[in-house]
Structures are given as structure tokens and as C-alpha cells.
């Protein structure tokens, strides 16, 4: 199977988002193995939002990230999986400008963003959340949200001293913030300190805050880690809605159920490299990937296999 063929399947998948049925009779035969071997270094996507070229980052003797070629398709949910130390978070840091690569480049909408500093990338629409949530604890939940909005007139020093210049915009931002808080079931906490939120609520807040800027690409680092199951479900609902609103989602996650549940495309990393990528249903049933890098019992469950 060629790369472009795979890409067209990805497109099909995007079009038929709702009627996706996992193929449970899937087994890793020789042709699949061959396919995996062919697709270890960069599948060309129909319309990539991000293109990563020869990106390398080393810490002393350790190569944390060494990605030859990786494209992130626009408008779909891409999961980044792999064992601890695979370089997923480092890759996130490199993409968002929180870390500098030793070599290589990142193209965002076809433009090289390597020289942009992190806050400039965020303004261009590349917004991230963090593995350890960064709720701004001594700001209210609403203030946290309002901070996320882009292009605020009142954020300039001199202009901030003249409220008439920014009051109207501030009201509009507040309205949008309240709408998002409503959607994320945090509206009742709006005037509380963000520090009073539970861990799960902080994850929700961080995601909602990232959405305030209407980003093009949302990068979520372990969005449901430490979140209780009920909240996880509502969080995942929100993630699923993002592509419908035109956003591209990349997320790192260790909970494989979540990965198979919401992702369209899965990129598997190990020791800094991309070792496989493919449609979630293909990767999920690829025993080689699962066993070697994620631990057995982590794939898409096959009831017949489970039977004694």
C-alpha cells in the first residue's frame, strides 16, 4: 500500500467520522508487517498543518528526538504515543518553541517557524497545554480564561491606563470566556480562584483557556492524566468537537483506551524516533507495536483473543 493510498483512506475516515467500525478480525500478517516497515518514516498527508523535517534534539549523549519526517494532517486528531522517555514531550516543546532543536526545521502552514519564539508561535495559532497543568492559581477562573484571548488592546502598558480603549473588547472576551466555561461545565466556578479547582477541573480549564485564542493547532500533553472517569468522558467529548470547528489536534496520551477512542491517526515514537504511524485502527491492532512499545493488553481489545 502506498503512502498516497493511505492518505486517501485518511480522508475517507475524516468524511465518514461517525460511521467508523473497527475491523476486529484484523491480524498482523506478513503484508501488514511489510506495510509497517514501509511507513516508519513519514507518510505524506493531503494537507499537513505541520511538517517536521530532520528534527533532532540531544541532551548530552542522549538523543531525545530524532524525527526524519513527520506530517500532521490538518483537521484531524493525531495521537502521539510511545513509552516513557520516547521523546513525545520533547517533540511538543520543540514544536511550540519551548525548546530549541540542534538541527532540523518545523513548517507550520508551509512556513518555517524555527526562528519564532514560543509566544509568537502561540499567536500564530500553535497553542499547547502542559502535562502538569498550569492553572494560574491566584487568578480567578474567569481571569485565566480572559488571559487566553489574542490581540488584546489593554495588554499594552500605555493603553491599559485608558480603559475606554479596551472596555468593549474586554466585555466581548468575557462573553466568549463564559460561553466556553459553560461548555466545559466550569461556569459556576468562574469567580473562584483557579487554585481551588480539582486536578480534573484544572485540565478542563487549561484546555478551555487554550481555545480562547481560536487556535489553528491545539497540542494537548496528557489531557486526561489524573482525571476521574466521568470528567474524562466530557473532556474527550470536547476534544472530539475540535476538528469539527476546524482545529487540528495533537495529543500525547498514555491511556490507550483514550487513544483508540478519539484519535484518527496515531504516531508511535520510541527512543526519539517515529517508529510507526497509521490510522488508529491499524496501529491499534498491530501487535508488534503494541507489545514492543506499549505493553501487552494495550491494543484495541479483541474479545475472541481474550477468551481462554
Amino acid at each position: 500500500m502506498s503512502g498516497s493510498n493511505l492518505a486517501s483512506r485518511l480522508w475517507d475516515r475524516i468524511r465518514r467520522r461517525d460511521d467508523f467500525e473497527p475491523d476486529l478480525g484484523w491480524v498482523l500478517d506478513d503484508s501488514r508487517r511489510k506495510w509497517m516497515a514501509e511507513h516508519t518514516s513519514g507518510v505524506t498527508k493531503p494537507d499537513p498543518a505541520l511538517v517536521i523535517k530532520n528534527l533532532r534534539r540531544t541532551f548530552g549523549g542522549l538523543t531525545a528526538v530524532d524525527v526524519d519526517h513527520l506530517e500532521i494532517q490538518r483537521g484531524v486528531i493525531t495521537a502521539l504515543i510511545g513509552p516513557n522517555g520516547a521523546g513525545k514531550t520533547t517533540l511538543f516543546n520543540l514544536l511550540t518553541g519551548f525548546d530549541r532543536p540542534d538541527s532540523g526545521s518545523v513548517l507550520f502552514d508551509g512556513r518555517d517557524i524555527e526562528r519564532m519564539r514560543s509566544h509568537v508561535r502561540a499567536r500564530k495559532g500553535l497553542v499547547r497545554t502542559f502535562q502538569l497543568t498550569k492553572a494560574l492559581t491566584k487568578l480567578s477562573v474567569l481571569e485565566n480564561m480572559k488571559l487566553g484571548a489574542k490581540g488584546q488592546v489593554g495588554e499594552g502598558f500605555a493603553r491599559s491606563l485608558v480603559p475606554p480603549l479596551w472596555r468593549v473588547q474586554e466585555r466581548a472576551i468575557e462573553k466568549r470566556a463564559m460561553e466556553l466555561l459553560e461548555r466545559f461545565s466550569l461556569a459556576h466556578m468562574a469567580s473562584e480562584y483557579a487554585g481551588t479547582l480539582s486536578g480534573g477541573q484544572r485540565k478542563l480549564l487549561e484546555m478551555a483557556r487554550a481555545l480562547m485564542s481560536r487556535p489553528a493547532v491545539v497540542m494537548l500533553d496528557e489531557p486526561v492524566a489524573g482525571v476521574n472517569p466521568a470528567l474524562t468522558q466530557s473532556l474527550l467529548e470536547h476534544v472530539r468537537e475540535l476538528p469539527i470547528e476546524g482545529m487540528t489536534v495533537i495529543f500525547v496520551e498514555h491511556d490507550m483506551d483514550v487513544v483508540w477512542d478519539i484519535s484518527d491517526w496515531v504516531v508511535v515514537m520510541a527512543e526519539g524516533r517515529v517508529i510507526a504511524e497509521g490510522l488508529a485502527e491499524d496501529i491499534g491492532k498491530n501487535r508488534a507495536v503494541i507489545d514492543a512499545y506499549l505493553g501487552s493488553g494495550q491494543g484495541i481489545e479483541n474479545p475472541e483473543e481474550e477468551a481462554p
Binding site: 497553542v127 491566584k138 487568578l139 493603553r159 480603559p163 480562584y193 485564542s213
Partner: protein
């Protein structure tokens, strides 16, 4: 009986006088600047006295060296503080917060030592201090230098009163500006950077630039404190800018409560009230024989009063760690 012999009225008048006086205004203003740095932007500045010195010398030298008028001298003083902030901030604000702390404490000492050095002696008059700049400022004084001003028994001479009024007026303006800034989106970004710089950057805020702005703002306010002091004392002494003063400003800020508008003002008043009260009371007690001279004599009072302020601060930290105005709710958030 001996307690009754102490002139409590006199001690009380002195206490009120200093808590409203020049020193309190200077300390309040310097602590307002420190509050911008630490309370709102989370910048660890251990060299605020350096900004105070830069402001004072900027203003003083404008007159003695360049014969500028008082308003230009004020601008030059602010400019000196701004340049100092840029020198400190540009190289360090991209790094972790500790680096600014290290650099500020050293830089403030460099300013003092340069000012009292023989190399710059021609300009700054070295350890003897800068004089002869006060003339043009005194011309602006609407009060009669020969008369006394005040309420009831609390009276200040005209020139002193002028500096005090200017000091508190500048403090009021600074408070209004900061109050407006901190309820604006600018203040929101600055407070967000205090909480978590990376989060602010991930949301598209240029953390470095905001920290630099905050450092300049707080530094310029510190510089204004120096100018008020120079105005009141008619002299600029390099050794009135020793590192200890930075920590008095910190004491003032922590007494009042970090990150609150009024805390530097109330903190400064309480700080000076405590110092004067202990000074007066201890001196009287030694004189009346209530404290045996074997234990301490009157010459030691001025050191011991600082110890008592220290004890007071320690007690405050135990029973009200958020300071007088601080919010207990916010304090608890740090523990979570």
C-alpha cells in the same frame, strides 16, 4: 510609678510624626516599587536601594552638573532608574528568577561604591555626599520655610513639610497608576507571569517584555523614592544606600502584605511607628532605671529597636503570614 514618669505623650507625638514623615513616605514609595516587582510580577529584586540611589543621583546631578530645571531633573532621575532596570533586566530576565536576585543585590552595591569612589569624586562628591542641588527645588516650595505646618502637636518645618507633601502626593499618584494597571489586561498578563511564566508564553504573551516593563515601572517608582529623600534632606549620601535599606523595604512590604495596593503605605507607617515607639520607650525606660544599664544603655537602643521590629515581623509571619492586607485565601492556594 516609674512607668508613670515616662512622658508617653511625647513618645506618642514622635511616633505619629515619623509614621507620617519623610522617611515613611520614602519607604512607602520604595516598597510600592518593590510591590510591583515582587507582589505583581514575581520578580525577586534584592537591590531596590540601587534604584533609589539612581533616582536620587539622577535628580541631584541634573542640577549640579547640567543646571537643569526641577522638572527635567525629575525626568533625568526617572531615566537613570530606567537605564538601571535595563542593565539589570535585559541579560537576566530570560533566565530563571534567581539570576535577577543575584544581579540586583550586587548591582545596588556597585552603584553605592561607584558613587562614593574617588574616581567619580569630581561628579558625585564621593563619601561626603552631593550637595547644592536643592536651590531650584526650594524655589517651588509654597510653604514658608520659617513656619511650622501640621495638625495639633504634630508639626514639621516648612521645607520638610514640602518634601513630605510631595512624597505622599507622588505615592498617591503611583498607587492610582498601579491600581489601574493591575485591573487592566496588562496587569492580568503580569500576574499570570508571576504565577507561571510558561503558561503565559504558551498563550502568546511575551513574558520577557512584560517582566522588563514591570522591572522598569517598579524601579522608576524606587527612583522617585530617592528623589523625595534628596528633596527632604537636601543632600545625597552614598552610605544612605547600603543593602540593609533594601531589606527594610522588604520588611515594609511583607508587613503590609505582598501584592496589595495599600500594603506598602500602611507597612511603612507601621514600620516607622514601631521604630520610633521602641526608641522612645526604651530610652525612657533606661533613663528611669526600669532597665538596668548593665543590660543595655541608651546608645544601644537604636540597635535593639530593630531587633524588636524583627521579633514583631516574626510574630506576624506566625500569626498572620499573609501580612496585614494580604488575603488568607491566596496564601492557602500556595500550599495546595
Amino acid at each position: 510609678m516609674a512607668l508613670a514618669a515616662i512622658d508617653w505623650g511625647f513618645i506618642l507625638i514622635q511616633t505619629v510624626e515619623t509614621s507620617l514623615g519623610l522617611e515613611a513616605a520614602v519607604y512607602a514609595l520604595a516598597a510600592v516599587g518593590l510591590n510591583v516587582h515582587f507582589g505583581y510580577a514575581g520578580l525577586l529584586n534584592f537591590g531596590q536601594v540601587g534604584f533609589v540611589a539612581m533616582g536620587a543621583y539622577g535628580m541631584g546631578l541634573s542640577v549640579t552638573l547640567w543646571s537643569l530645571n526641577p522638572f527635567l531633573a525629575l525626568l533625568v532621575g526617572m531615566g537613570f532608574a530606567t537605564v538601571f532596570a535595563l542593565i539589570l533586566g535585559v541579560p537576566t530576565l530570560r533566565l530563571r528568577g534567581d539570576y535577577l536576585a543575584i544581579v540586583t543585590i550586587a548591582a545596588a552595591e556597585i552603584v553605592r561604591l561607584l558613587a562614593r569612589s574617588t574616581t567619580l569624586g569630581e561628579i558625585t562628591r564621593g563619601a561626603e555626599g552631593l550637595h547644592g542641588f536643592i536651590g531650584p527645588f526650594r524655589e517651588l516650595n509654597p510653604f514658608d520655610p520659617g513656619a511650622e505646618y501640621g495638625i495639633g502637636p504634630v508639626q514639621f518645618p516648612g521645607n520638610q513639610f514640602f518634601a513630605i507633601v510631595v512624597g505622599w502626593a507622588v505615592t498617591a499618584v503611583a498607587l492610582v497608576v498601579i491600581w489601574q494597571l493591575m485591573r487592566s489586561p496588562w496587569g492580568r498578563v503580569v500576574k499570570a507571569i508571576r504565577e507561571d511564566e510558561d503558561a503565559a508564553r504558551a498563550l502568546g504573551k511575551n513574558a520577557y517584555w512584560y517582566k522588563l516593563q514591570a522591572l522598569i515601572l517598579g524601579g522608576v517608582i524606587g527612583g522617585l523614592a530617592g528623589m523625595v529623600q534628596a528633596l527632604g534632606k537636601a543632600t545625597i549620601q552614598p552610605d544612605s544606600f547600603v543593602p540593609a535599606y533594601t531589606f527594610f523595604f522588604w520588611t515594609v512590604l511583607i508587613l503590609g502584605g505582598v501584592g496589595r495596593i495599600w500594603s506598602p503605605v500602611v507597612g511603612a507607617m507601621i514600620f516607622w511607628a514601631m521604630l520610633t515607639f521602641f526608641q522612645g520607650t526604651l530610652t525612657a525606660m533606661v533613663n528611669e532605671g526600669l532597665i538596668p544599664t548593665a543590660l543595655m544603655d541608651t546608645s544601644q537602643v537604636s540597635q535593639i529597636r530593630f531587633m524588636l521590629v524583627g521579633v514583631g515581623l516574626a510574630l506576624l509571619m506566625v500569626f498572620r503570614p499573609q501580612g496585614i492586607f494580604g488575603s488568607r485565601e491566596e496564601m492557602i492556594l500556595d500550599v495546595r
